[in-house]
Subunit: 225 residues, 2 copies
DNA sequence: GATAATATTTAGGTATGCCTAATTAAGAAA
DNA sequence: TTTCTTAATTAGGCATACCTAAATATTATC
C-alpha cells in the first residue's frame, strides 16, 4: 500500500525542496507563485500531501510547510532525474544549455530508474549539471558547494564560474554569448558601490562586461588564489 | 484554437492506426482490449475524438471508427517518436531490445519536436526500430515493406529476419537468446504441415530451432535467392 | 489593542479520463 | 422472422488537479 506519486506531486515536492533551502518553511503563496498555480489550489494539494501515509509534508494551517524525510527523498529523486537529464540533453543530444531545463522538466517524471542508471553510466556519473548545480548521487546525497557569489568579488580578484542559478533562457543565452558559463575564468576590474555593478573581463575573450547585482547574485564562483 | 492532444488521445490514435492496418474499421471492443480500458470508456473517448474540430476520427454508432487525416497525422507522429526512441534507448543507452517498448511508450508523449530531431540526427535517421518496424520519416511517410512471414517459408530456403512483430518481453528475450533478431540469417530445414512447425538453423550458431506458427506468423523475413 | 493589509483557507465548480451497471442495438442461429 | 448472444452505448460515479469568489486568520501599523 505504498504511496505513489504523480507529475504534480513530484513538482510540488521539488519546488518545496528548492524554496526551503533558503527559507526553511515554505509559505503557500510563495509556492503558488513558484509553481504558477493559485494559492487555493496549493492549499488543497499540501493538505493532501500532509495527510498521506507516510506524509510527504509537515503542514500546519497558516504556518507553511516543510518536507518530511519521505517527501525529501522524492524531491531529491526528481532533482537527480532533472539534472542528469540536463547533462544528457546537453552532452549527448547537443541541446544548448538554455534549452535543457524545459525539456528536463517534462522528462524527469517519466523516465524509469533504469533510464536514470543508464544515463548516469553513459555520462560517467557527473556531479554537476550544465548550470553548475550539484546532482544528488544514487544514494541521494547532495554534494554541497561553498557558496561565493560573483556579487561578493572585488577588483583584482580572479575566479572560476561554478554555477549559474537562473532558468530564464534569455539570460542564459546572454551569459553564454559573453562566455560566462561554468568553468570560465574571470577577473574583476571594477566595482561601483552605489549600484553594486561589477566590471569584469572574461579570459580569452578580451571583452569587458558590466553586470548588475540582479545577475551577479545568481552566479557562484570559486576564487583563484 | 487548434486542437491539442493528451497522452490518452495519442494512445487511442496510435492504437487505432495499428489495428486498422489489418482490419480497416476498428471496433470498440477491439480497441478496448488493446488499450486495457473498458468498452464504455472507449465509447466516450471516440465520441469525443470524432466531435473535435477538426475531428480525429470518423465514427458512426455501432460501426466502429477510422482515422481522419488529422488523426492519422497524430498517430504517425506518435509512432515516429516511439520507434525513434526505441532505437535510441537500444543504441545510445544500451537497453536490451525487449525492454525498449515499455520505456518508449511513456516517453513518446513527452519529448519535444526538438528532441525528436536531435535524436534522429544522432542516430543517422534510422528507418527501422530494433524490432524491424518501419519508422515514419519527418514528413510522416512510412516506408512500406514487402511482407513475407517466416511461416510461409519451406525447407532449403534461406532468408534474413527483418521484423519481429511482438511486444512480449519474454518472447523477445527467448528469440534473441536464439539469435533470432533483425538481420540474422536463417535456413529452413523442415516443415511439418500438420502443426505448421518450422525447423530452422541460425547462421553462426549451429542451433536447430523448432518454432510454431504462433511465433513464425509474427516474424517477417526477406528471402535470399 | 484595534484596525487595516495581506496571506491563507473554505466552498463550490470545471475538465479529463477512467469505472460499473443497466440498457439497447446488431448480427447469428433457429 | 423471431430469438438469442454478443457488442456497443448510456447513465451515473469517482479521482485528480486545477479554478474563482468568499470567508477567515495572521501580521503589521497606528
Ligand atoms: Mn530515480
Ligand atoms: Mn539545471
Ligand atoms: Mn514529432
Ligand atoms: Mn518497436
Amino acid at each position: 500500500m505504498k504511496n505513489q506519486t504523480s507529475q504534480s506531486i513530484e513538482d510540488y515536492l521539488k519546488a518545496i525542496y528548492e524554496l526551503s533551502i533558503k527559507d526553511g518553511r515554505v509559505a503557500t503563496t510563495h509556492l503558488a507563485k513558484h509553481l504558477g498555480i493559485s494559492p487555493a489550489s496549493v492549499t488543497g494539494m499540501i493538505k493532501k500531501l500532509s495527510q498521506m501515509e507516510p506524509p510527504y509534508l509537515n503542514y500546519q494551517k497558516h504556518q507553511g510547510v516543510f518536507l518530511t524525510e519521505a517527501g525529501e527523498r522524492i524531491a531529491l529523486e526528481t532533482l537527480r532525474h532533472h539534472r542528469l537529464l540536463e547533462v544528457f540533453l546537453h552532452e549527448i543530444l547537443g541541446f544548448p544549455w538554455d534549452e535543457v531545463h524545459e525539456e528536463a522538466d517534462k522528462l524527469e517524471h517519466v523516465i524509469s530508474e533504469k533510464f536514470e542508471e543508464r544515463m548516469a553510466f553513459v555520462l560517467g556519473n557527473p556531479e554537476h549539471d550544465p548550470h553548475g548545480d550539484p546532482i544528488p548521487n544514487k544514494e541521494l546525497n547532495v554534494p554541497k558547494a561553498t557558496m561565493i557569489c560573483l556579487s561578493d568579488l572585488r577588483p583584482h580578484q580572479k575566479a572560476i564560474i561554478k554555477r549559474v542559478r537562473d532558468k530564464d533562457p534569455k539570460l542564459l543565452r546572454f551569459l553564454s554569448d559573453l562566455g560566462l558559463i561554468p568553468n570560465a575564468e574571470i577577473e574583476i576590474n571594477d566595482y561601483s558601490e552605489f549600484d553594486g555593478n561589477i566590471h569584469l573581463a572574461v579570459k580569452n575573450s578580451s571583452k569587458n562586461v558590466v553586470l548588475g547585482p540582479r545577475i551577479t547574485d545568481q552566479i557562484h564562483v570559486s576564487i583563484l588564489n
